[in-house]
């Protein structure tokens, strides 16, 4: 095994694999910063170019590109409040307020260093966990996977401090949106309005861009100034962010491990890791009042989990051939192009390729963070550009990002509709993340439910782990109400300081449920 481990390292630094990794890194850097144009689209575009490559070269190129997008996506999230990737939206919640406060450098330093730590933890997990993870994942059945999906939604909805009911409604709407299209079991057209476009369902990217990017651009236009409201400290701010990563090392490491674990679970490994990590950061903090207003721990958690999940994603993809995300599904295509069959072979005769994946993640993330730190001041200056020059650029980016999903104008219409919905949600204090999460999890949840009912009838509801997950979900929903009740009993009243979590302002919480 040690031979394969070392051979994997050497093969990454051989030419042309190393050159291709740098090329992938450059492309990933650009793609990650451009909102909407995500890793999945780029992987799909680049896949045809890997036919002539060896396995290590192909993965150096593709995985190198992918690893970078997870990190650089945080940059636009922090600087513009626009998620560079759908998987970096959670960084906005505290990263963008920090930028507005003039702490863009510190937020970026924290995001980048926590990303590096997360990536290293994820890579280590990939190397260490493969031999033991198989029985763990295989012990879970479809009922447990269904409940895990529901737990994810309940968890995020419950974080909409004081607006749990709205969070659940938003989650329900997200799940309902995922139903649009042809029913995978019976072929029935559901909510398609007779339009061919809707047969494939509502795409995540236009919805995410609409919900998150358009309200921010409108706010930018309304204010009419640059994003930064104060001057940003230069390197001092950045190093403060780096120090924060190690000052709050517990949050960083725990969120890295959380991201790795979530990344291993099929369907949960994409956007969800960041939200769960954010939730964990909030829940484990003694002082929650600054979350949502620019608490650096709200940047560290999602940053670490977002990168560590890639290692987790690869575990199930490599070991079982089960892609956890769309991106991994495309990467699975690269495995097949290279004549590699995921499964036992990847742990035996192709073990060096598996270990090369580990090293690619490590090396590209170190390079990425180093490059980002070198050019951070230039990136931070972007926030000083006046709004008039930023707005048309951002409009074009979100338009192109939405369009590239399916290369159709209907995606732009969907984006505009959800832009209006997103703006209304912002103004009225409705949480947006549960809606996106519902859309992400919907199809998968339905499949799990269908398989559970088909295989176990309604008996699946009595499975021990399902019951445990149900109890946790119920606890997640009712705990905030219990906490509020307890606070009232203590005489603190409803008007005390409350955390602003997941886009719902604290003040919106009282007195509504």
């Amino acid at each position: 095994m040690l031979d394969a481990f070392l051979y994997g390292l050497v093969s990454v630094f051989q030419w042309p694999a190393f050159g291709l990794m740098l090329l992938g890194l450059a492309i990933g850097f650009a793609v990650g910063i451009l909102p909407g144009l995500g890793g999945a689209v780029t992987l799909a575009l680049m896949l045809p170019f890997t036919f002539a490559m060896t396995p290590v070269e192909a993965f150096a190129f593709l995985l190198g590109m992918l690893s970078v997008t997870a990190t650089t996506g945080d940059i636009t999230s922090v600087l513009f409040g626009v998620p560079g990737e759908a998987t970096t939206a959670a960084t906005i919640l505290d990263g963008y307020p920090m930028t507005k406060r003039g702490e863009a450098g510190r937020a970026l330093g924290a995001a980048l260093m926590s990303s590096l730590v997360g990536a290293l933890v994820g890579a280590f997990a990939l190397a260490a966990v493969i031999p033991i993870v198989q029985p763990l994942v295989l012990s879970l059945g479809t009922p447990e996977f269904f409940m895990l999906a529901m737990l994810g939604i309940a968890f995020v909805a419950s974080l909409s401090s004081g607006a749990v009911r709205r969070g659940l409604i938003a989650g329900g709407i997200g799940l309902s949106l995922s139903l649009v299209g042809l029913d995978p079991q019976s072929g029935t057209q559901r909510f398609t309005f007779g339009q061919l476009y809707f047969w494939e369902g509502v795409s995540l990217i236009p919805v995410t861009i609409g919900l998150f990017a358009i309200p921010e651009i409108i706010e930018l236009a309304v204010k009419g100034t640059s994003i930064a409201e104060r001057q940003v400290g230069k390197l001092g701010g950045v190093w403060q962010g780096v120090k924060d990563t190690f000052k709050y090392w517990g949050v960083t490491i725990r969120c890295s491990l959380l991201g790795t674990f979530v990344g291993m679970i099929p369907g949960l490994g994409g956007s969800i890791a960041q939200w769960l990590a954010y939730a964990h950061s909030v829940q484990t903090a003694s002082d929650k009042s600054r979350f949502g207003h620019g608490d650096v721990r709200g940047v560290l958690g999602p940053g670490a989990a977002n990168n560590s999940k890639e290692g987790g994603n690869l575990i199930t993809t490599v070991a079982f051939g089960i892609p956890s995300t769309v991106v991994m599904a495309i990467l699975l295509g690269a495995f097949l192009i290279q004549g590699l069959v995921p499964g036992p072979d990847m742990l035996t005769k192709n073990l060096h390729v598996t270990f090369s994946l580990v090293w690619i993640i490590v090396v590209t993330n170190i390079f990425t963070v180093a490059i980002c730190f070198l050019f951070l001041n230039q990136l931070v200056r972007i926030t000083y550009v006046r709004a008039s020059l930023l707005i048309p650029f951002l409009i074009m980016l979100i338009f192109i990002g939405a369009f590239t999903t399916n290369n159709t104008y209907m995606d732009l219409v969907v984006m505009l509709v959800f832009g209006a919905v997103g703006y209304a949600m912002v103004v009225l204090g409705w949480p947006r993340p549960p809606l996106v999460l519902g859309l992400v999890l919907g199809k998968l949840s339905e499949t799990y439910l269908y398989l559970s009912v088909g295989r176990y009838g309604w008996e699946w509801l009595t499975r021990p782990l399902v019951l445990v997950l149900m109890l946790i979900a119920a606890g997640a929903i009712f705990y905030p109400a219990f906490e509020a009740w307890r606070a009232r009993r203590r005489g603190g009243g409803p008007g005390g300081p409350r955390a602003t979590i997941l886009g719902t302002p604290a003040g919106a919480a009282e007195p509504q449920p």
Binding site: A30, L45, G81, L93, Y96, P97, K100, R101, R165, R166, L168, I169, I173, L175, S176, L179, D183, Q185, S186, T188, R190, F191, I214, I218, A221, V222, G292, H293, S388, L389, I391, P392, F393, I395, M396, F399, I400, F403, T404, N407, Y409, L412, L416, A420, V426, V427, L428, G429, W430, S445, E446, L449, T500, T504, P505, A506, G507, A508, Q512, P513
Partner: protein
């Protein structure tokens, strides 16, 4: 209902109720196989939304006290984000976003994007002609070189230009 915010909140909840109710109504004829998950999702969502509306109408909900993400600005939303001036500026941008869409659809991504960007700068922000034109040209080149040439995104030529038989590209 006393404030603009509360009226808007109730209207938004009502909009959600109408959409969810219509979805539930549409799904009534589906087989159990196709309808099970939609019914499981839509029914509680509708009930929760109705509960929310009742609270909205009874005035039990209140507006957020701070603008999202605005550290330290305890600004009432019904006197800020819903103020006339703010609404006007937001409305102008929404109109421009729709305008971008229309221009790109008619003239294509490169030409339309460049033209819309330049027009936006000149008309909405009173930028100088020089800045606006340079910005428009850079946008055109950015789209054509990065997205069309390097990333091979299949942009169309725009409905109007196609109808006129005109093609404007860096490379034919």
């Amino acid at each position: 209902m006393r404030t603009t915010w509360q009226r808007s909140e109730a209207l938004f909840t009502l909009f959600i109720i109408v959409v969810v109710a219509l979805a539930l109504y549409t799904s009534r004829g589906w087989s159990q196989r196709a309808g099970l998950f939609p019914w499981i999702v839509l029914t509680p969502t509708l009930l929760l939304a109705l509960w929310q509306l009742v609270d909205d109408v009874r005035g039990k909900t209140s507006p957020p006290t701070v603008v999202i993400g605005d550290e330290g600005e305890a600004t009432e939303l019904d006197t800020d984000l819903t103020s006339r001036d703010t609404a006007r500026r937001g409305g102008i941008l929404v109109a421009w976003i729709i305008g971008f869409f229309a221009i790109i659809w008619a003239l294509g991504w490169g030409v339309g994007g460049g033209l819309a960007s330049a027009a936006y700068l000149r008309l909405a922000w009173r930028e100088s002609w020089r800045v606006s034109i340079i910005y428009g040209v850079v946008t055109f080149l950015f789209i054509e070189i990065l997205f069309r040439e390097l990333l091979n995104i299949p942009f169309d030529e725009g409905a109007l230009l196609e109808a006129l038989g005109i093609t404007i590209r860096l490379r034919p």
